[in-house]
Amino acid sequence: MATLFELAVGYALVCVLAAMLLCTVRLLAGPSAHDRALALDTLWMCGMLLALVLGIRYGSQVYFDAAMLIALLGFVSTVALAKFLMRGEIIE
């Protein structure tokens, strides 16, 4: 069962990395600025999930704090980006 679990963790790592790659393609190719903002937000979320899967892989609780921090920063940065795209400034 332990071998099966390690296989599942490897599959999850590969899948999350492939998802990050696809988000990067959309980030570079996206035709408009809000496409890029959406791709960047998805990239933040995939980074958080990558930290969680790495935490399972190495059996360490330290990665949980990293994931928490990435989630917080991703939310704040995406809201700031959307506000900037809409209004031209962030704090009015």
Partner: protein, 134 residues
């Protein structure tokens, strides 16, 4: 991996199943972000990545650490609650910014009129070229 040998096999099987499911859903969401045509279709792809994919991975993490450390580990619920609170806010703000920018730049081909809620205003006769909104 520490504590993997003394963990019960049903917990490992459940965590493995949840990990495979969540990772596949994450990949499908990113594929949707890449493949769909307009921005208003594309924003539906990451929604399942953030809710269902992240939920499955967080559940797998909770199950694995609970089984491996033989005590209740539920602090992943903090991330789950935070994601469930912030994901609608993020998508609403991105969508409003996109609608505003597409309407202002008069982009009919962006799909902003697809829901028949917003209509692109006709161009004024001597308004010059449309705004370069990229």
């Amino acid at each position: 991996m520490s504590g993997l040998e003394q963990a019960p096999s049903w917990a490992l099987a459940g965590a493995a199943l949840l990990l495979v499911l969540g990772a596949s859903i994450i990949l499908i969401g990113a594929l949707g972000l890449l493949r769909l045509r307009t921005f208003y279709q594309r924003i539906h792809g990451p929604a399942i990545t953030i809710t269902l994919g992240a939920g499955s991975v967080l559940l797998a993490s909770m199950l694995y650490f609970t089984a491996a450390q033989s005590r209740l580990v539920v602090h992943e619920l903090v991330i789950a609650a935070f994601l469930l609170m912030t994901a609608p806010v993020v998508s609403m703000m991105l969508m409003r910014a996109a609608v505003y920018r597409d309407l202002r730049a008069r982009r009919r081909d962006s799909g902003v009129e697809a829901g028949k809620v917003y209509a692109v205003a006709p161009a004024e006769p001597d308004a010059g070229p449309p705004l370069p909104g990229r």
